[in-house]
């Protein structure tokens, strides 16, 4: 790592002050992606503002028909939360499948979506659930939040404070892991609320998470894995190709994972 100045605010107000004041600062949430990137010297912020000392950013609450998850809530906390497991078991399962147990103890929902890694799991999940991202300044619907690979609607100095997730949806996430990194090589989240169906795909798109419109339309008519049988998988030319998986293989896996997600969402 390159040298940097370190700040660890104790309140959200202090954090707000710091992001306005400190130049070239990176916000450190769980650090499970940022720190490895900095260790490899691929990122070199002049300062780091660590949010791990801000207790008001942690916690999970049920508010009306929504789950409200603090931005600094760890994957392990979401995975093991009785509230989440009761209201959205598919979301708990998604969180339980991020990284490994040690990473899940540190990695946070806010950090994950702020980074919007094209192979991250939460972006697909939150898209499919129609979540809203709350920052220190505004509320942003998930559909507007994820703007491309490693890119979000967040402005300079904007801090994610919580995520509002509507409950009552049929939801599941199916992931095919990269055999080496164990990140999603293809991950498909499927959410159905009322007659609206969202199918969000991560790991595969050349510009990050995306929605699969044809599948959404088919599943909107009948929410069953068989409904996908006549549907063409997303075109390979829009997908990533690397040493682990060609675009064609990823395209195929999207179909397989989507079916598995739908089956899981309709189970129980």
């Amino acid at each position: 790592m390159y040298a940097f100045d370190f700040h660890r605010p104790a309140t959200l107000r202090q954090a707000n002050n710091l992001v306005g004041k400190v130049e070239d600062a990176k916000i450190l949430a769980g650090g499970q992606t940022l720190l490895p990137t900095m260790k490899q010297r691929l990122a070199s912020p002049a300062a780091v503002i660590d949010l791990s000392g801000v207790p008001e950013l942690v916690g999970i609450e049920q508010k009306g028909r929504n789950l409200v998850i603090g931005a600094m809530t760890s994957h392990a906390e979401v995975a093991s939360s009785a509230l989440v497991r009761a209201a959205l078991p598919g979301l708990a399962a998604l969180a339980a499948g991020i990284g490994d147990p040690h990473v899940r103890h540190k990695g946070t929902i806010g950090g994950s979506i702020a980074n919007n890694d094209p192979a991250a799991d939460y972006p697909a999940g939150l898209l499919a659930l129609g979540a809203t991202i709350v920052t220190n300044r505004r509320k942003i619907p998930a559909g507007d939040f994820f703007t491309g690979m490693f890119s979000t609607a967040l402005d300079e100095g904007e801090i994610i404070t919580k995520v509002i997730v509507p409950t009552g949806a049929k939801f599941a996430y199916a992931k095919f892991r990269n055999p080496a990194s164990r990140y999603a090589m293809v991950g498909v989240a499927v959410g159905k609320k009322g007659s609206s169906v969202v199918v969000a795909v991560t790991g595969a798109g050349s510009d990050g998470v995306f929605r699969w419109a044809d599948a959404e339309a088919a599943l909107g008519k009948r929410f069953n894995a068989k409904s996908l049988d006549g549907i063409k998988n997303p075109a390979a030319k829009e997908l990533n190709s690397d040493i682990h998986a060609s675009a064609e293989y990823r395209s195929h896996l999207i179909g397989v994972m989507a079916r598995r997600a739908v089956t899981a969402a309709t189970a129980k």
């Binding site: 010297r41 055999p179 080496a180 990194s181 164990r182 040493i243 682990h244 060609s246 293989y249």
Partner: protein, 787 residues
């Protein structure tokens, strides 16, 4: 003593320090005043170095010194060597390009050493390294193994204008041609043996320390063979004479071959320690290990097998192209030659074998021995051929193997090896029974019901361990002898220290060697300490690789124990006032035949040192004996592994559903440790078959340079293994040991690929059989079936 002797499952003596965090690995050692080294590495696979400007970097905070190839040239530091001479078919010696520890004039792979920065902290060294300005003139790289020697290819070393290191052969070409003429059936196969990156969990590290008062160097290093490191650093690289260079290899976190070799980094650390007048410490990060540690395997092979009308093998012709990377690593040349072709007979009676190996340079990391070294490649060739041939002949693969097994011993193969003993039918029969091969058809049907493909594959492997005798390997080009040394020091109170030239880096020598000594001397195992890994303590040794420590290292201890016992009998004869010939030694007691007079081992030890019962003319005081043991033959562990896989055709995911291993390692000292070695070897073999593979792009950039892209076997990739044994004691060493360290890695890849091809119904898939590769192959198989 029965509880700790040969054959007992003794818990490991070394474990306490490891499970309490008190191991002592090289990176755990810090020397007073030490500085830290960071290597600036080439970002290019192939480039001329026009100029290196270190001025700006030298002025950075904390920088102590910066050295480049010009500095080591000025100091006449010798180049790194390859210690095994191979001659081509035409009699010409292999073409070894110069291998300076820091690049001179040219870089030849991504990760090649361009400069070293020594600074107060590692972070400062790295900061400064980024400020070094290197003016490169990029050259076209040679990356593809198949086309490396094509006319017009860029030249990597002037010494090898066509990038060929050697074009070697072994066997009787005419006899093989005749065999193929007689053949009723010929099975042909093309194989890729994928390039692997060893990945011992402890990255390499080194600390060079120079004592100016005594003009003596100490090198702490992650080595499997500290004495060989000292020999090479002194005799060839010329850093210091042997008596002024102490090499310490403390606890070492795994090696698998990759820590045999003498690398640029430790060479530079020890040399630079004197230059800067401070200890110099270097610790590799994982990325550096990926880029610059010696890789393994990387063969392209075409093989043909001639078979007669009765299903008997007549002959074998194998043609292999081996990638040795950008420079010849320490033992690189021997791996695809003498450690490979002589094993191609496998467990089979093959009257004629001819092997041709062309070794080439490419702009990739050097390739050298990795667990099994040549023998996994040989087993992969012969065991894939056996399976494919059986399928082509419509024979059961087990029956085809049985028909061709060697059944009488000793057996002289047409390729050097003379197998002393074995019972190949026994291990096959036992493996088939334990595995419930009979139940496979039912299990396959059940898988099919669930939409899965199931396959079963055999691998009947042989390996050759304890490479020897020294005179024989010398005649084949080895630069060293391959004996081992031991010294048994009995203390006056009867405790024992055993100094061995073997090195333990996970194998548990501190336990197994102590079992041997405690059992033989009839003393508690707690009273035995095994000392290794320090050239100031152990005079000379050859180290640990090639599954040699049991067969060779322990045999040396047996020889030394023979001498200790003989001397102790003499002492006892004076104490007991009896003729030496009347002294018996059993269960830790010396007794006089036919009497009840006896004395225990500890008392004899004391008497040996107090020397009250004999005069100096009669007997030398003390009880300490050393021995060198040079084996008379290789040892030949063998066995049968059966892999059963289940494939999800929707995703291409292959699951190892069941694994059975029945090995014949001869006499086993500690079954618990031996089984652990087998488990680990199988895991590495499955890793090669399903997960691992180094990939370079066309520019010579390593795409698999971290665990993000190089798939290491994890716990959920593997099953539990069923491991069992048959035993035919080795005839060429006093303990009957054959060796076990590499067996799993040798056997497993062919077993997995035979099972996968069985499940798929065709042979068209290469290692690693990743989900993508298997999915594609499954689709192709389904399409073919539909036609």
């Amino acid at each position: 003593m029965a509880g700790t002797g040969i054959g007992a499952r003794v818990m490991r003596k070394e474990d306490f320090r490891f499970i309490t965090g008190k191991g002592n690995y090289t990176d755990d050692i810090n020397r007073p005043g030490q500085a830290h080294a960071y290597f600036l590495r080439s970002p290019h696979a192939h480039a001329k170095i026009r100029k290196i400007d270190t001025a700006k970097a030298a002025a950075m905070p904390g920088v102590v010194a910066i050295f480049t190839g010009a500095d080591i040239e000025a100091d006449k530091v010798g180049g790194l060597i390859c210690g095994w001479m191979i001659h081509s078919k035409d009699g010409t010696p292999m073409k070894a390009g110069a291998h300076p520890a820091l690049a001179v004039g040219k870089v030849r792979y991504v990760g090649d050493h361009v400069a070293v920065v020594i600074a107060e902290t590692l972070a400062e060294a790295r900061d400064a390294a980024e400020a070094i300005l290197v003016d490169y003139e990029p050259l076209k790289p040679v990356v593809d193994l198949a086309s490396a020697t094509k006319k017009g290819s860029p030249v990597i070393h002037d010494a090898a204008p066509d990038n060929q290191v050697y074009d070697w052969h072994l066997g009787d070409e005419a006899a093989v041609k005749a065999a193929f003429k007689k053949a009723k059936h010929v099975t042909k196969i093309d194989l890729v043996n994928n390039r692997l990156i060893p990945n011992a969990m402890e990255p390499r590290a080194a600390i060079g320390d120079y004592n100016s008062g005594e003009e003596a160097f100490t090198l702490y290093t992650t080595s499997q063979n500290p004495h060989v490191a000292r020999l090479v650093l002194s005799a060839f690289i010329g850093i210091a004479p042997e008596h002024k260079l102490r090499v310490i290899a403390p606890d070492v976190g795994g090696g698998f071959g990759s820590k045999i070799f003498i690398y640029a980094e430790e060479t530079i650390c020890v040399w630079a320690a004197k230059k800067v007048g401070r200890p110099v410490k270097w610790v590799a990060d994982r990325t550096e290990e990926f880029l610059a540690i010696a890789h393994g395997r990387d063969h392209l092979t075409h093989a043909e097998m001639a078979i007669d009308e009765n299903g008997r093998i007549l002959g074998l012709h194998v043609k292999t192209r081996a990638n040795l990377g950008a420079y010849l690593s320490t033992f690189a040349s021997s791996v695809p030659t003498y450690l490979y072709v002589p094993l191609l007979s496998g467990q089979y009676n093959i009257p004629a074998i001819y092997g041709e190996v062309e070794a080439v340079y490419t702009n990739t990391a050097p390739v050298d021995a990795y667990r099994g070294a040549g023998r996994p490649e040989a087993t992969f060739v012969i065991e894939r051929l056996m399976e494919v041939a059986a399928r082509e002949l419509g024979m059961d693969p087990a029956a085809f193997r049985k028909k061709n097994f060697i059944k009488s011993f000793p057996h002289q193969t047409p390729v050097i090896m003379c197998y002393d003993t074995g019972d190949y039918n026994a291990s096959l029969a036992k493996a088939m029974e334990i595995h419930d091969v009979k139940g496979f058809a039912r299990r396959k049907r059940e898988s099919a019901k669930a939409g899965k493909l199931r396959g079963l594959g055999y691998s009947a492997y042989i390996e050759a361990c304890g490479i020897a005798p020294s005179a024989a390997v010398g005649s084949l080009g080895a630069g060293v002898g391959l004996w081992e040394s031991a010294e048994v020091r009995v203390n006056p109170v009867g405790t024992v220290e055993v100094l061995t030239g073997s090195h333990s880096h996970g194998q548990g020598h501190e336990t197994t060697f102590a079992q041997l000594v405690a059992g033989r001397l009839g003393i508690p195992i707690e009273n035995v300490a095994i000392v290794h890994g320090d050239t100031d303590k152990v005079q000379m040794g050859m180290g640990t690789y090639g599954s040699r420590s049991g067969a060779v290292g322990m045999s040396a201890i047996v020889k030394a124990l023979d001498k200790v016992e003989a001397k102790a009998k003499k002492v006892a004869s004076f104490v007991l006032e009896a003729a030496e010939a009347d002294i018996d030694f059993k269960d830790g007691k010396f007794s006089v035949k036919g009497t009840d007079k006896s004395i225990d081992f500890a008392s004899v030890a004391l008497q040996a040192y107090v020397a009250h019962k004999f005069t100096g003319e009669q007997l030398e005081p003390g009880l300490k004996e050393g021995a060198f043991y040079d084996p008379t033959n290789f040892t030949f562990p063998s066995g049968v592994h059966i892999a059963e896989v289940e494939i999800d055709p929707d995703t291409g995911v292959t699951t190892i559903a069941k694994w059975t291993a029945v090995d014949d390692f001869g006499v086993i000292i500690n079954p618990m440790i031996v089984e652990g070695q087998v488990h680990g070897g199988i895991a590495q073999g499955i890793g090669q078959a399903l997960l691992e593979g180094a990939v370079y792009d066309a520019n010579g950039q390593l795409l698999t340079a971290s665990y993000m892209d190089y798939a290491m076997p994890r716990a959920d990739d593997l099953p539990s293994f069923r491991v069992d044994h048959t035993t035919t004691p080795c005839l060429s060493n006093p303990l009957g040991i054959k060796g076990c360290g590499e067996a799993g890695a040798i056997a497993a890849p062919a077993a997995v690929m035979n099972a996968i091809t069985d499940a798929l119904g065709h042979e068209n898939i290469a290692m690693p059989a990743t989900p993508q590769a298997v999915w594609q192959a499954a689709q192709a198989g389904l399409a073919r079936a539909a036609e």
